[in-house]
Symmetry: C2
Subunit: 361 residues, 2 copies
């Protein structure tokens, strides 16, 4: 049963990949018709979108659709795939804002264009060009995501039904991103505030809204789908928080060869995560001072990172976060077993919940 679900998810991932490939090919033709200077833009976005990515948001949209008991058409898959373009915008802008050098083991978009500026010995400042390119490629990916949704071929009624969920999701994403950036400016961490950020950035944006989007493409009438939508929230919101908490752990303890990010990246970036807020709440004065001093220092050696990891684990925060993840996952699984979910989608939701919370990247 679980293997069937896993097989379905792999298949949907491939379909999403193939739809993205077709869409990007069309856009390459269009943009290179405007000017050959736009070819590096197409190259960079193609590489960003097609060489990696878990496709989690399209998969959750698929699951939301499947929860209604209907089978998505290729047009629906294109609509789900549009979420990957939105996510590309979020990641490209995120890396720029965080001044991250890499994404999935390759240069972040702003670094890629900075390198391009240097290798072509262009006029002006390479870092300014890299930043500007990242702003615009993110904007373009955001507009493309809309365009792919609009031209997906779903019925007019389905599209109109999806637009309001889609808009709400994007407003929540930008609000969550701002809260996240704002949090880094707070003098002291807060578990509550970090949990709220996790709710907006991941609970809603990554899981709940994609599920709703899928459901809204299948059941046009808002009233008719309202009970299912509630159950999808009961599944998606805790799962999204658990997803973010797993991210917190991977951001500090993840294996660089699997995550594609430097070891202890969240320490170097001084990221205000729930895990870090819990750590500092529980740490004694000496440990707390050591950890706080390390946060945001990009020059940490691997020994120093190892030491900070040890201090974090010693507070018990990692265990507490793992327990929190298990509790949230259990709530999500209970919701997945509700009568409102079409039985054919149940294993899919369970498999996705496991993927989102027990992943290593």
């Amino acid at each position: 049963m679980v293997n069937d679900a896993r097989g379905t998810l792999l298949e949907v991932r491939e379909q999403v990949h193939s739809e993205l490939t077709s869409y990007l090919t069309l856009q390459r033709e269009y943009l290179s018709g405007i000017g050959s200077e736009l070819i590096p833009v197409c190259d960079a976005l193609e590489s960003f979108l097609l060489e990696g990515g878990k496709r989690l948001r399209p998969l959750f949209a698929y699951a939301g659709f499947a929860a209604t008991g209907k089978a998505p058409t290729p047009a629906d898959i294109r609509a789900f795939a549009s979420l990957e373009l939105l996510q590309a915008c979020a990641l490209i802008h995120d890396d720029l804002m965080d001044r991250s050098d890499t994404r999935r083991g390759k240069p972040a978009i702003h670094r890629h264009f900075e390198n391009l500026h240097q290798s072509e010995a262009m006029n002006g400042l390479a870092d300014q060009f890299g930043e500007a390119a990242a702003v615009l490629l993110g904007d373009l990916a955001l507009v493309w995501s809309d365009h792919l949704l609009h031209t997906s071929g779903v019925s007019d009624a389905a599209l109109l039904s999806a637009l309001s969920v889609h808009d709400e999701m994007r407003i929540e994403l930008m609000a969550g991103q701002y809260l996240d950036v704002r949090e880094a400016g707070e003098k002291t961490p807060s578990v509550d505030r970090s949990l709220r950020i996790a709710r907006y950035k991941s609970g809603k944006y990554t899981i709940e809204r994609p599920l709703h989007l899928g459901a809204s493409l299948s059941i046009i009438d808002r009233e008719e789908r309202s009970q299912l939508v509630n159950v999808l929230s009961a599944y998606g919101l805790p799962l999204g928080e658990a997803f973010q908490l797993r991210d917190d752990i991977l951001g500090i303890f993840g294996d660089p060869s699997v995550t594609g990010k430097p070891a202890g990246d969240d320490i170097r970036e001084g990221k205000r995560t729930v895990l870090m807020a819990m750590t500092l709440e529980r740490a004694d004065q000496q440990a707390s001072a050591k950890i706080t001093a390390a946060l945001g220092r990009t020059d940490l050696t691997s020994d120093q990172i190892e030491e900070i990891r040890g201090l974090i684990t010693a507070t018990g925060a990692v265990k507490d976060v793992e327990d929190l993840i298990e509790g949230l996952l259990s709530n999500a699984l209970t919701a997945a077993n509700s009568a409102e979910i079409n039985p054919s989608a149940r294993e899919l939701l369970i498999e996705l919940a496991t993927t989102a919370t027990r992943r290593s990247h």
Copy 2:
């Protein structure tokens, strides 16, 4: 007759202002419900959108609608107003990419949030916070523009008809913006390349597409509006180029108290405009060397700017650009008098053409 058109445009501007005010009030309620940390975001976008702006794009959308002979409803006005939110995104991101300090005489959004970071003695780097805020406020404005269009209250058929023009416009905008940023990296200027950028950034984005958007909200059937759309292009494309050329002149010779930008801003920014490309094409070696050395220097004194202005004028490039503007304006006016344009809209198009090309800010 012209006074009637001017009166209509003033009235539409007020309606657009009022619709934006209502929309932003609703969004403030929504965002402050998520967290009070989002109030500065609402404040900044309200001030950005409501304290100034020529509302050119909504006015052109209005004119495109009026060209069909029908009268727009308040729902249509809301759809036109959404273009101001898109423009806010473009300007906020533009100022960030150009590292401009001011917009309409006030701090640019990234500077505003940098100041906020400092005055609240927040944790971390003030400039990084300012940049991140500008990325996200631009993104939010882009999503809001979509949301206002979708919730404007126009009929489903009108909305679906508008979406494809709207998407094409936004893709062209991002492509034009990239070409503009890329142009600054070219070793030598080019009149042809700068004209192409003017075509995408201004001809299409500022004028042609807003006209088409207006027409598409009034006449749903693509075939039925195709002849009108062609005439609107014949009016809008040359006018948009003329608009950009006026911008080039104002960027160097504009009065700071009227433009809200520092004197000679395009010189300090080293902006690759058509005017500058023509100047360098016509200048002798000595003048060319002097001008080139001044481009991109933010520390120029007002005497130095005056000297560069004199050198630019002496090449004859300003007169040539003025002649070009007149020629393009004349083409636009010819199109405005085509039979396809409903006579009731003719004076409006003529008045707008004059506003766009003979303005002082």
